[in-house]
Amino acid sequence: MRAQQSTPRISADGLRMAALLLFVALFTAYSAGPFVWVASMSLRTTTEIANSPYGLPWPPHFYKFASAWFDSNYDTYFFNSVSVVLSAVAVLTVVGGMAAHCFARYSFRFKGLLYFLIFSTIIFPPQVTVIGLFQIMVEYGLYNSRLGLVLVYVSIQLPVTIYILEAFFARIPKDLFEAARIDGYSEWAIFWKISLPVALPAISTTIILNTILLWNEFLYAVVLITDDDKRTLPLGVLRFLGDQLEDVGMIATGLMIAIVPVVLIYVFFSERLIQGMTAGAVK
């Protein structure tokens, strides 16, 4: 009796599973296909691509990476990006950490107002800052300067950094800080010796998140940077596109150079990165 009943159920389940798998497979192709394609093109010459756009990268032409790197300004763009992003992330971590520590630990006048002001900027459209920012940067003498870009990057990522860290700091038991206070440590020492080390998981999450987002940032860079030798990678990629115009194979190599660092970070810190990216969305 039972066997008779369960046989059709299994096949219905099987059918459902097959449908699920098909859907999942189609989406995976849609999601991963473009990467596979650009990765394979980055190892092929334009002539090979023109003959068969979807062929396999065999034999692989690894030299293309070297020529993309050395023959255009790619090394400059890359190091500009590295220096701008790393400085901005370092400043963000300390300044954001301090502010988050302050919001999480103390109560003071206007706390609610400051909180609201800073976090409302998360939803501000960038259009409303970018023009004023352009004028102000020109007046400060920070236009077309990497330092200026660093400061702007700090300011655009500051709210979300404070948001993530504040949530974590607030979960550290208050007793810990009071114990340190009684142990004779100043507020400043408590921040460095207790808050930051205990919050290391959240700190690393924000570091990775900010690194990725700023690595990809385009709008402020295109508005604030004009000199070729100060361009960051996203601007460089676009410039490269203009230079190489029809050389699809070479551009694909250029794209891969921009993608690889991100993918490397992702390979090592995927969970942490997912955590950081989705921190604002999970409620």
Binding site: D175, A179, R181, I182, D183, G184
Partner: protein, 359 residues
């Protein structure tokens, strides 16, 4: 080694609208173990935190060794505190936890190291010095918290319910260890708890607090025997003192279900009669009974039996009897009591009636 004095100390929040603690007066002598006891929300923790310097004192004055401390920051008061949650630094090893407070005051690394080793040995954690708190058991964490305070060798030790996160067996042994510690260190210690057993066993004196005010201060046994109010009477003792509304007659006090001979009260006065469960004993004669009632339940606890009597009042009367059950369910029991152990409280104020105040 220090004397801690509180003069009319009070704490109000929000421009005086919410008063957490008011008019606390007490002087804790050098080397004394003072227990602050009370139900949650009575202000005992707030009082401790004001002594520690973690909360501001909005009224009155706090002195340690005669020096006004109100405005002195916590780090300069030379006190150590053991928290209920232990507050161990999770990112530091036991060694660093023990030495963290010392390093701030003592720059000589060799001295710090020696002191840490000494303390670790005295609390039996030498083998665990390189572990982090998450790799320790609850009892070991508690000992680290204790060791951290000892290592500092402070003027005053503050304890905020340090045993409440331990299981029952560990609590008993740690209690004994704390008593030993106090005997060895001879330091001034202030200990907050809601557990009356801890208060009775550990304190040189007990300060019972209720609704932000001090209800009574005294030696544990004095407070137990002579509670200053019905609150203290009902808070201390398990089961608590039986409180029976009664009216004074001619040379007699009528509890509604019995009477007790007693002179000196003004006839007609409403009082509350307080009788400890262990002071009650069954007798045969209904005429002699202080209280009579029907047995509604019996709890055999092994060493003793608690008998609950329904006397028609709001709460049952509890009698603490010996191991052998002294009664049957639904039986009417007559109880007597040694007059010297009976306590009297004013029915309106709840305060104890002293011999001079009987009118």
């Amino acid at each position: 080694m220090a004397i801690v004095a509180l003069d009319n100390v009070g704490k109000a929040y929000g421009d005086g609208k919410i008063v957490a603690v008011r008019d606390v007066n007490m002087t804790i002598c050098d080397g004394e173990f003072m227990v602050l006891l009370g139900p949650s929300g009575c202000g005992k923790s707030t009082t401790l935190r004001m002594i520690a310097g973690l909360e501001s004192i909005t009224e009155g004055e706090l002195r340690i060794d005669g020096e006004r401390m109100n405005a002195v920051p916590a780090k300069n008061r030379d006190i150590a505190m053991v928290f209920q949650s232990y507050a161990l630094y999770p990112h530091m090893t036991v060694r660093d936890n023990l030495g963290f407070g010392l390093k701030r005051r003592q720059t000589d690394k060799a001295l710090v190291k020696r002191r840490v080793n000494e303390v670790a040995a005295s609390i039996g954690l030498t083998d665990y010095l390189d572990r982090k708190p998450h790799a320790l058991s609850g009892g070991q964490r508690q000992r680290v918290a204790l060791g951290r305070a000892i290592a500092r060798d402070p003027k005053v030790f503050l304890f905020d319910e340090p045993l409440s996160n331990l299981d029952a067996a560990l609590r008993v042994s740690t209690r004994a260890e704390l008593i030993r510690l106090h005997r060895e260190l001879r330091s001034t210690m202030i200990y907050v708890t809601h557990d009356q057993v801890e208060a009775m066993t550990m304190g040189n004196r007990v300060c019972i607090m209720s609704q932000g005010k001090v209800a009574q201060i005294g030696k544990p046994m004095d407070v137990y025997l002579n509670p200053a109010s019905t609150f203290v009477a009902s808070f201390l003792g398990n089961p608590p003192m039986n409180l029976i509304p009664a009216i004074v007659g001619e040379d007699v006090i009528d509890s509604g279900c019995g009477r007790i001979r007693c002179k000196g009260f003004q006839p007609g006065r409403k009082i509350t009669l307080g009788l400890r469960p262990e002071d009650l004993a069954p007798i045969d004669s209904a005429a002699e009974a202080v209280i009579s009632g029907r047995v509604i339940s019996m709890e055999s606890l092994g060493a003793e039996t608690l008998v609950h009597l329904d006397t028609g009042g709001a709460k049952p009367i509890i009698l603490r009897g010996g191991r052998e059950t002294p009664a049957q369910l639904d039986e009417i029991l007559h109880l007597t009591c040694d007059l010297s152990m009976a306590r009297f409280f004013d029915a309106d104020t709840g305060l104890a009636i002293t011999p001079g105040d009987k009118k």
